[in-house]
Symmetry: C2
């Protein structure tokens, strides 16, 4: 399927009829903003259709399947891997107008939503019910539930509460043939038939388009406490993470920053950190108010290990804000320091984290590329940031070699190339390095079952 | 594929070579015990092979695929649906000798096991590490992890800790073509490729044979408390279940018995229950010792509602045993009272449970079939037991009609036909009533991708 320069008049008329005239854009200037995502890649779609309901989506998909036109589903475009960039042109199906929360049932611990609901809006609507939906990507204020499901996006809370695959009961979807189907159940158990729900979650819009999701809710914790632990080096911090994960109180956030991340932030903000800080952990625990103090104490005890320079517990909202200041200053600092960052989200087993960061330091030294690491330590999910000047071709080349070495390292440590950002366009050339060849062939076979014409987000994910 | 009366001499010789001579049975008398499961159905396999390692399994599968010979994987045969009964003869592959725990890594919260490991043996081996693997089917003392994964078997703890799909990170499997492949990851996050792990879990050996599993571990709770709440009727109990599930402390068991179950037990044991007991809840909470009292209090408060006759909290091990006595007496009583019970494990949303049990009472009355209900109320997972005399053809016929009505009722209430026992042979005629026709067709397509010759447990599950 090569990018068509424009859609035929006949297809365009049929599409307008299927989409509804008020729900379609074809002027390139109007379509332009629907061609990018947060990877900063861009490709122009020939048409943008606003999804309104399952039957309309089914009609649009059927039309695209008939004419072998690429169809790329899109939430709010906050993904970082180019998965919603319509590389082969065709139609972008935007879910932004399909944003209704259809049902909240606290007694059944579930919510039924349309895919365009913004994550934060769902959390707000749930708050009075005493429940929440655990996935909390950094972009929660603007990203959609449908996007969260497409990427299996998680966030800090995943260490305790899991990812969308752990927090979704069932889906309504449209397959690549334009057929509507139901997957999963409305209950917390169910073993009739194969698990299509989780197969579709994380498939980046390549198997089916989600038109409705039944989400599993979790009770809101009564209380939360924050700790910040500073260590002399990454090995000490990694040992603390292992020790925290080996005891009974699972934190609801266990984030870390390495020495280069701390150094970077300290260039832009005055930091209240002890001398010689070589790694930092931000830890949060939540649970019933009656035992939050004990939970905090248990995690604090586990965080004590050789190389601990300082352990601070926040007792007030101001202190919480003060402790988070260093971590929150990181993203703006990263944006300032380098014209381009390659932001990876690899995962290694928690016990290999120290070894991994040390090897990254060596790679940075050898390649002359600045590498800054932070991330969700409790999951071993590390955002490895390569900071480069895109106008320096030599640096760009060295970064590519370095990234290749990072991926090899991750796989050698029994890790995975993506924890929560997905594959999209950015990582598709590396998928074969991780996946078993037989598994990869099977995945392509499964893709053909769902989407025989190969129109759903072609070229992404696998 | 029709049941062969015997295997050809050539096939038998090749199979012996692939299996290893010490790992194969062909004498019908030796094969006989491998032909049944706990459904009490039976079919004789022509050969039994004892799985020893992935390469051997791959060779056996390849051989069966070439000759279109049915191959049925089997743990300890504790399933209740006939899923391991080799209805079409052929080869039974027993995993009982593949029972090694390969690795326990508390810092990474994972264990790697062979499929023949007995659930209870894993829990025992884990205990000193401070972790456990949550799935706890009633048969935990004798059933295998491979079987738990094949059925997605759960148990009481699922209400808090989930099912095998929520507690497995990755698999090594052999597909129906005899190819070995890896699925999933060794970390708690990973989004590279489609989720084959969960697709295979719960597929009853119809997609691939699990040769190794990487299980996600959970910290052992420090403390546990038990409560027993007795209600005037099922509506009061159902309201209490909804109220318990709508608050923040999730019990680690929330089991119930209806009036007919209580009546049955009281015929065989002297029960210490208040007058007029029409429904009973057994509730357990677990967590840090520091807040176990508060957790118990929170659940006790939620259990208070109109129709509560008595709420008892156990303070000692003896009191715990006393409270559980009624529930534990149920299974032996059920075995005594009727020559045959049809034991279903349907699920309805928690909020519909009262309505469901009331409708079951009506069905029992109309059909003249005695129905006894108990189960995992927190999941809405209800074991509906139809007690019949198999020698009374009229009763057998009425029970079939009644069961049909039960399934219709479950589906009307937005439930599912199986929560943890699976489909096997027992429910395969009903699958089409629950599953979306497009989803069912896709499942058959997926089955063909994994097992083009259709040899893996043919005729089961879908």
């Amino acid at each position: 399927m090569s990018p068509p320069s424009e859609l035929s008049a006949g297809f365009r008329a049929s599409l307008a009829q299927a989409a509804g005239s008020a729900a379609m854009l074809t002027d390139p200037a109007d379509c332009w903003p629907y061609g990018y995502d947060n990877s900063r890649r861009h490709a122009l779609p020939q048409a943008v259709v606003f999804a309104r309901e399952a039957a309309q989506i089914a009609a649009v998909v059927a039309l695209c399947a008939e004419s072998a036109t690429a169809l790329t589903a899109r939430g709010m475009g906050t993904g970082t891997t180019g998965a919603t960039v319509p590389e082969r042109g065709g139609v972008v199906l935007s879910f932004e107008r399909m944003d209704e929360i259809l049902r909240i049932a606290p007694g059944d611990r579930l919510a039924v939503v349309q895919p365009g609901v913004i994550n934060a809006n769902l959390q707000k609507a749930l708050a009075t019910s005493g429940f929440f939906w655990p996935p909390d990507p950094t972009s929660a204020a603007v990203c959609t539930i449908g996007g969260n499901l497409a990427y299996n996006s998680a966030g800090p809370r995943a260490v305790k509460y899991g990812t969308p695959r752990d927090n979704t009961l069932g889906l309504r979807v449209v397959s690549g043939t334009g057929e509507m189907l139901r997957t999963g159940v409305s209950t917390s158990k169910g073993v009739v038939g194969y698990d299509l729900t989780r197969l579709i979650i994380g498939s980046e819009g390549t198997l089916a388009l989600i038109t409705e999701a039944t989400l599993k809710l979790t009770p809101l914790p009564e209380a939360k406490r924050t700790l910040r632990a500073t260590y002399a080096d990454i090995h000490a911090a990694a040992a603390a993470v292992s020790s925290i994960m080996a005891q009974a109180v699972t934190p609801c956030a266990l984030e870390f920053m390495d020495a280069s991340a701390i150094a970077m932030v300290s260039r832009y903000s005055k930091l209240d950190l002890p001398e010689g800080a070589g790694a930092l952990l931000m830890i949060e625990v939540d649970g019933p108010a009656a035992c939050i103090h004990e939970a905090q104490a248990a995690v604090a005890a586990a965080a004590q290990c050789d190389g601990l320079l300082e352990l601070r517990l926040a007792e007030s909202a101001e202190e919480v804000a003060a402790l988070w200041k260093t971590r929150k200053a990181l993203s703006p600092a990263l944006r300032h320091i380098a014209p381009k960052k390659i932001n990876e989200d690899v995962v290694v087993p928690v016990s290999r984290m120290g070894e991994f960061i040390e090897a990254l330091d060596r790679l940075a030294h050898e390649s002359g590329i600045r590498i800054v690491n932070f991330g969700h330590a409790g999951n071993g999910n590390i955002h490895v940031n390569l900071l480069i000047d895109p106008n320096d071709p030599d640096e760009v080349a060295r970064a590519a070699t370095c990234l290749d070495a990072v991926f090899s390292l991750v796989l050698r440590l029994d890790g995975t190339l993506s924890g929560e950002h997905g594959i999209g366009l950015e990582k598709r050339d590396f998928v074969e390095r991780e996946l078993d060849p037989v598994a990869l062939r099977l995945m392509h076979d499964l893709k053909r079952c769902f989407d025989p014409a190969g129109i759903l987000n072609p070229g992404k994910g696998l």
